[in-house]
């Protein structure tokens, strides 16, 4: 299981699950007991894990093939489960040591007229922490007129090659800085540095995505120039990076024609989160049974506002439209910045005038 994204954990649905297939479960209980076991199963069965008669009990599970079964377990701690074993769904205390009481009944130290427990409203987005970092990054970019892009795709779609070609064609016109996200190695950052621009590799280790905090640190290290282009190559993963705002102005999804036309339908979150899609490796189209129109239609089905460019990073075909789009974006950022600077200058002039008036009044 991926320890960050939880891929493979929980009740993952498997399309058309086959009876007799082996699979693995692991459970973590509130008392810290972890156990995992793999088994083959037909449609219905039950199995034992050294059950003791005192506090053994069962969890029912549902599988994708519609079968249901129970695992008995033994626990040491004290906790509550909802489980059915002949007397319907109810809650149990397994009172064997431990200080915690998970009872739902009346509080033991009940003060008349006052419940010892109370509800506290939080009403906050789960991704608040990440979003706070992302907002700070975006403000940082905007104040400096920097145009930031977050490039996302599956591994092997040609992100790095595309970045190298993009940088080679734009580096004379603008300052460029790159952040490379990968689980391991600094190979990609080295490929970028070979073009002569500054690049920083972030190794996420076990992580499956970059987050706002990592990018904030990268900004401090890289110190990109004012009114420059800032490119973030995310970890090759079409799932997790969709949810994590890094403070970029646009997510750019890269789909290569050696993948399937239905990838936007299989991984809709990413294509929904992106503003731009690059259909890469188009020079290979004559050799493949890939319907580029269908791929575009699928992408627009999940995101009607998507801007799509067909490119080939190796041959350079179609790159000029993509490069013009970047230049226009950076120009807009510069324009906004100078507007902000002009507005601030006016404000300063206004305040100075007021101060002079006040001093004159004295």
């Amino acid at each position: 299981m991926c320890t960050v994204c939880g891929c493979g954990a929980g009740e993952v649905k498997i399309e058309g699950g086959v009876a007799g297939q082996a699979h693995e479960h692991s459970h973590v209980h509130p008392d810290g007991t972890v156990h995992s076991h793999s088994h083959d199963h037909a449609n219905e069965h039950a199995h034992d894990h050294a059950a003791s008669p005192v506090d053994a009990h069962a969890h029912p599970h549902h599988h994708a093939d519609g079968s249901e079964h129970s695992h008995p377990h033994v626990h040491n701690g004290e906790h509550v489960h909802e489980h059915g074993h002949g007397h319907g769904d109810h809650q149990h205390h397994h009172g064997v040591g431990g200080d915690l009481d998970y009872g739902t009944g009346p509080a033991r130290a009940h003060v008349p007229g006052m419940s010892q427990s109370r509800m506290v409203q939080i009403e906050q987005d789960i991704l608040t922490k990440n979003n706070t970092y992302a907002v700070a990054n975006r403000r940082w970019f905007d104040e400096r007129g920097i145009f930031a892009l977050n490039l996302v795709s599956s591994p092997g779609s040609g992100k790095t090659t595309l970045l190298v070609k993009t940088i080679e064609r734009l580096k004379e016109k603008m300052a460029i800085t790159v952040v490379e996200g990968d689980q391991q190695t600094s190979n990609d950052a080295e490929r970028i540095r070979a073009t002569g621009v500054a690049a920083l590799q972030i190794n996420t280790g076990k992580g499956c995505h970059l987050d706002g905090h990592m990018v904030g640190h990268a900004l401090q290290r890289l110190k990109p120039a004012d009114e420059s282009l800032f490119l973030i190559e995310n970890v090759g993963n079409l799932v997790c990076p969709a949810a994590f705002d890094l403070g970029e102005h646009h997510k750019v999804a890269i789909l290569s024609v050696t993948e399937g036309e239905d990838k936007p339908l299989k991984y809709p979150d990413m294509f929904r989160a992106a503003d731009v899609m690059l259909l890469n490796k188009c020079d290979l189209l004559p050799y493949l049974e890939f319907d580029a129109d269908l791929a575009e239609a699928n992408a627009r089905r999940v995101n009607p506002h998507l801007t799509i460019f067909r490119v080939s990073a190796t041959s350079g075909d179609g790159l000029s439209a993509w490069l013009s789009w970047i230049e226009a974006g950076l120009e807009a950022q510069r324009g906004q910045r100078s507007e902000t600077v002009d507005a601030l200058k006016q404000r300063v002039a206004e305040l100075e005038r007021q101060m002079e008036q006040m001093q004159a009044a004295k």
Binding site: A9, I122, D125, A242
Partner: protein, 113 residues
């Protein structure tokens, strides 16, 4: 996807609130998960149990309130109910539907003592 990160995000919000309220422990955590958000509730429950172990929220019950989805259908020009992200408009069958609610993942409230 990334349910482990999300569970850690939940725990962070819960711990901050519990500390501010000087709680001894957390008994219940209520989340609102939109039907159109990309969260698998079962995976989130699993991860929540794992990340809360040893924290103030250890053993807390996790209640997930499912928020129905809705979207703005461009051809129909009105808000329509949506059962799946990126699904078709139930009225006209178009895929030009922009989700308007049911995409959020929020920690609603916690019960502490």
């Amino acid at each position: 996807m990334h349910e482990m990160s999300l569970a850690e995000g939940v725990l962070q919000l819960v711990e901050e609130t519990a500390q501010r309220e000087k709680a001894q422990r957390v008994k219940l955590v209520v989340l609102e998960i939109g039907r159109l958000s990309s969260v698998e509730p079962e995976a989130l429950k699993f991860c929540f149990e794992a990340v809360t172990h040893g924290s103030i929220a250890q053993g807390a019950a996790l209640e997930i309130v499912s928020v129905p989805g809705a979207g703005w259908c461009m051809p129909c020009g009105e808000t329509v109910p949506m059962t799946e992200s990126f699904g078709a408009c139930p009225k006209c069958g178009s895929y030009q539907v922009q989700p308007t609610s049911g995409t959020d993942m929020r920690v609603k409230e916690i019960e502490i003592e």
